[in-house]
Symmetry: D2
Subunit: 406 residues, 4 copies
Amino acid sequence: MLPPQKIINDPVHGFINLPAGLPFALIEHPYVQRLRRIKQLAMSCMVYPGAMHTRFQHSMGAMYLTMQAIDTLRLKNIDISPEEEEATVIATLLHDIGHGPFSHALEHSIVADTSHEEISNCYFDYFNQEFQGKLTMAKAVFSGDYEKHFLHQLVSSQVDVDRLDYLKRDSFFTGVSEGIIGSERIIKMFHVIDQQLVVEEKGIYSLENFLVSRRLMYWQVYMHKTVVSAEMLLIKVLQRVNELIMNHITVFTTPALHFFFTHHIHIQDFHKDPQVLEQFSLLDDYDIFTCIKVWQQHPDKILSFLSRSLMNRKLYKVEMNNNVFSDEYVEQIRKKTIQKFDLQPDELDYFFINETVSNKIYDLEKDSILIVRKNGDIVDMADATDQMNLRELAEPVTKFVLAYPQ
Amino acid sequence: MLPPQKIINDPVHGFINLPAGLPFALIEHPYVQRLRRIKQLAMSCMVYPGAMHTRFQHSMGAMYLTMQAIDTLRLKNIDISPEEEEATVIATLLHDIGHGPFSHALEHSIVADTSHEEISNCYFDYFNQEFQGKLTMAKAVFSGDYEKHFLHQLVSSQVDVDRLDYLKRDSFFTGVSEGIIGSERIIKMFHVIDQQLVVEEKGIYSLENFLVSRRLMYWQVYMHKTVVSAEMLLIKVLQRVNELIMNHITVFTTPALHFFFTHHIHIQDFHKDPQVLEQFSLLDDYDIFTCIKVWQQHPDKILSFLSRSLMNRKLYKVEMNNNVFSDEYVEQIRKKTIQKFDLQPDELDYFFINETVSNKIYDLEKDSILIVRKNGDIVDMADATDQMNLRELAEPVTKFVLAYPQ
Amino acid sequence: MLPPQKIINDPVHGFINLPAGLPFALIEHPYVQRLRRIKQLAMSCMVYPGAMHTRFQHSMGAMYLTMQAIDTLRLKNIDISPEEEEATVIATLLHDIGHGPFSHALEHSIVADTSHEEISNCYFDYFNQEFQGKLTMAKAVFSGDYEKHFLHQLVSSQVDVDRLDYLKRDSFFTGVSEGIIGSERIIKMFHVIDQQLVVEEKGIYSLENFLVSRRLMYWQVYMHKTVVSAEMLLIKVLQRVNELIMNHITVFTTPALHFFFTHHIHIQDFHKDPQVLEQFSLLDDYDIFTCIKVWQQHPDKILSFLSRSLMNRKLYKVEMNNNVFSDEYVEQIRKKTIQKFDLQPDELDYFFINETVSNKIYDLEKDSILIVRKNGDIVDMADATDQMNLRELAEPVTKFVLAYPQ
Amino acid sequence: MLPPQKIINDPVHGFINLPAGLPFALIEHPYVQRLRRIKQLAMSCMVYPGAMHTRFQHSMGAMYLTMQAIDTLRLKNIDISPEEEEATVIATLLHDIGHGPFSHALEHSIVADTSHEEISNCYFDYFNQEFQGKLTMAKAVFSGDYEKHFLHQLVSSQVDVDRLDYLKRDSFFTGVSEGIIGSERIIKMFHVIDQQLVVEEKGIYSLENFLVSRRLMYWQVYMHKTVVSAEMLLIKVLQRVNELIMNHITVFTTPALHFFFTHHIHIQDFHKDPQVLEQFSLLDDYDIFTCIKVWQQHPDKILSFLSRSLMNRKLYKVEMNNNVFSDEYVEQIRKKTIQKFDLQPDELDYFFINETVSNKIYDLEKDSILIVRKNGDIVDMADATDQMNLRELAEPVTKFVLAYPQ
């Protein structure tokens, strides 16, 4: 067990010992502390007012579960050295470090063509340099290059501490109590065979429940139609600001946002220029909402309309369907919207959204969940359950979204 | 809202107002009070020590949910008169009144060829007589004869207050927290169309979660193999006592148990002779465990062996499989057991159990769960979900059980 | 950390690892298993239907907290050997082993002039003999004779794992949520100085809350007037049976109860005759309630009246006052009761109760709670708090009770 | 019961029906929606990462409790008209509307010589005008001018829905579980006599627990020394900005903050100029943190030092004592600080804090908590309890604080 430095109170897991040494130094680092200012669920608080919890809390929670999992595996005689433990704890701690504020929306607007995973890699490199190479093993665990593959799977797989924490935590803070999952029970069922993370057979019902809860949370919280509406509106807001700035129209921005609106940052810039990571690390929810508040008064009608809609929660009406909308219906709404707001053709895009959202709750192809039978056989979870058709759960569900001002 | 008489504290739902008048008189009646002495989960406390909660608590909880559901429906302008409310509350209150202690085991041993539902009917008749016909409507609601069918469905259907309470309650007391369901949310989604209980479409994920949680609780708690082992042992104990008594061998029994061991009671006797219902109402968990404790010292080797096994939790080893056991394997265990205990052929039956248990989590045929779409269409839940193959969930799962002393 | 053998699910603390070896052997022993059949809160379920939890659950919970406390102390470099850990775990596990069913009532009726602590000692001696002297250290820890006094204080003091578990547990099962205490926080604040258990100063508000919660639970749950009424009635029932048996009137009893009604057992008999401990170990809640049910039909009018009152929850009316009742008022009630039930002078005692109950929430004299200041000073908690007058809390509160049939 | 318009999910109280009509219109108003952007506990999240909940959530929760309280009182035949219910609901909804971000700190810096209560009054006036006088009764209830005084007491007194919600809520989100109070139980004990809100005698232990929990939360959460340190630092930051701006040094500010830094706003300005209220309504946590992030780079050494300290959680070391610090000790720290940071005399004030914080948990003088005895007598809670010396709890506790950079 890593010696603790400090204890924090987590309403989800209870007391969490923060491990001393390098993990603690990382927790204290401003780049990690900034996660305190990024909400885990972005716009979900528009529907679930309790969902104000942060990526920082989630990182602490996932770290706690990693420590629990390692304790469990050691009791089952799986060899994990103190160095490996620390590396896995650090990999967990930093697994979401690449997220910016309103990550989904910003990935579309601010930082082009990159993902939070790639940015996370930059952070690992930065920290590894700052701490004289001490994160080398942690990075290997994070990226899946470390020989004991199960350590990576703890951090990132279809039944990782990330999901085991966030489902429980999101359920707790939104008040969607039925989304609760048996994180502790699943962890107690973890085992390792041939360096692969497996789950003991008697955990199968907990796993089913875990997948179905994830599906519930996905459609009821993460992709709740009002949440989707707010996120799409945010994308539009940022898109409009981009356009105005490109046309040299003055728009109030915080310095960090200014940097990204005026530079066209690609992922390679993160690697080349430390300034980029530093600026990125200054971005958080506060920049976004501060600016939107100010933009409500902007002389550009479109920007001020979009900003007021978001700020005062006059969100676009959203229709979400399992079937594609008919061309006639789409056309009819489109026309109505143009008329109502007296729009130019190139403006319509800000007022009319026609997209799809999609999710699959189990992926048969990558890093599937393995079950170990009592006789030692290892099978894919999809083949182990006595009923739930997991192969079917691996089919993506797609929903069609139409959104426009009311 | 029925005026309250008293408040009780329920750790699951919080404060529960006990409605005044006839419902309160019934709650106070010794025949209902006896449910305080019958554990909801019978032998599950052998595995989950917290599962000591009683059928009385569950009845109060279900009654509370009925009152919540009626409040919700009235806000949606469904007409429910005070008399109908009271009748539904009473039907809920008494829905489990026909259960004896360790109901499953006793139905095999003590009262032949009857079910707790039939005995419940006798209680309704008894109370209706005692209270001058005031339970006529309640009985109609209970039995499904009342014109407003949805009132019956609240009390008894595939998404009734019975299940909405017991899943949540059993989850709470066993500590299987992942079994928790969104009872409140599902109830908020209740509606009535053409006198049928329906659920609004946006409750669909909660319903999926409800079914999967029920499956989890079924196999992880109700049919946990150690629980099954204990219940089968209890059946064997009672069977042996029956045999001894038929052979005129003296066996200690409490008076109420004595009555049932020495009379061969059929369901028609309940109707004919009020004495039967009275004796049945004296039976509870206390009779069973008191006797088993005494039987540990009985001169009959088989009875004392079985009783000590149960009392000291030296339960039979249980194997539970999705596939049928091979004849050779069964034969091998059978022989080993005969040898080890030096058994006569007619004694083997007490030491060797080969049975099946089975469950289906959704029934397509009787009183299926109806969903009302936003456009007013009503569809079977099995056809409303965008993914979970409910038609498949309607297939029964059968498991094969082999049990024998270790 | 003691290696675990098995895991149980506790709704209060979550998963509890049962330590292997001697502790597990003790848990499996019929004398400990019997605690599964003794409710922790005796008659409190008459008011709080959820309060069905057992002394077994509490013993597991207290054991868990002992293991937590030892982990915490070791992180603070307090030396505790594996043997000492095991001894303390066992001392906790067995700390309530001397309780019979409805302990308070039975101490007045069945086993004369003894306390559950003394009977616990007999159990320790019995187990120590059965397990070849391996409980010697556990007994020393239990009785306070072991040199590291803090180990005893963990098990038995004014802030021991006993109270830290039962307050939390009773609060959970009764639904009196405000009674919840910060067990985990208090344990995290434990330290040891000069072999004394102390609490770090910043735990002071948690301790205040702990004492006030205990006071709340005491008067609102343990000594709730309806609970007191039921317990007094039980004492009267047992007293009447005693009297009838002494007068050679036949009364149905279970064998274990029969033993105690027909022998006059004193504590020395426990030591002299192993049969006594064995019979005592067969007694549990089941004997008591089974008999009372039967006694409802006894030809003795007083016994049947008392038994029916208890069984059907037609409890005596109780008045509970902070001031002594006036002689006139007592006399008036007494007379009314005599008249109403047409009583003989020697019968009144069964129908009229005039007693006191009393409690103090903090004891200044024995094993007081010690606080360690940041500067290392150790002070009595009563002198450490900045406000709550603990010296005053050490004054006993006495309430006067009058009870009689309605 | 007010007809509901919408339901929100509250992790603390469960589902909350938002009442239709005027209350719902107010909830939707941008001036109320802004409370979504103001954390209830300001800097407490520096110590308790879960404490991100907002004043909006608290307002919804308090409103819910008001509706519960009114239901309870009506069951006790207290006459409350639908208009009075709506007025009380609105008064609750708006009770905290006058709070700005980090209220305590801003009251010292931005808006001179005023309190959030006075600003609340301005909001009431504003809304009353906007909604054609429909808030007249609500304002009377809020300010205590309405004849049925108990309605005011529900909203504002020593046992009001404000405290009943925030203690429970803060306890929930910080994870300080022992701070939980019996809000529901206390509300069930509410009664009204002579238009005064009273509590039934049997609620006395819940009230004691409520006061002691408040004390616990006060010192352990609200005035936790790290929280105090962060708030004092924020005051210093704002003070420095003020000074720089007065000296015409350019400082980045958001427009709303700019308004308050460049105008010297007094409470009368709120009344005179609607622009002031509008600007105030644009201020929230986002302005503050956005600016502090930017100020980290300000050329003024003091401002950047203070901002970095706060942002990166390198807070001042705080000593908090029950006794006044000796002059020598204060002098010694002062000198050390001057030396270490090479300070000019007029700069010391930014680096050295010597203050007091104080609290009393019960006020004997204003709107004390009244208990109604079973005999109908009404007494001050301080005289009703059988033990806790409430008169003593009415003594303020003062602590002395010394803070300086580490």
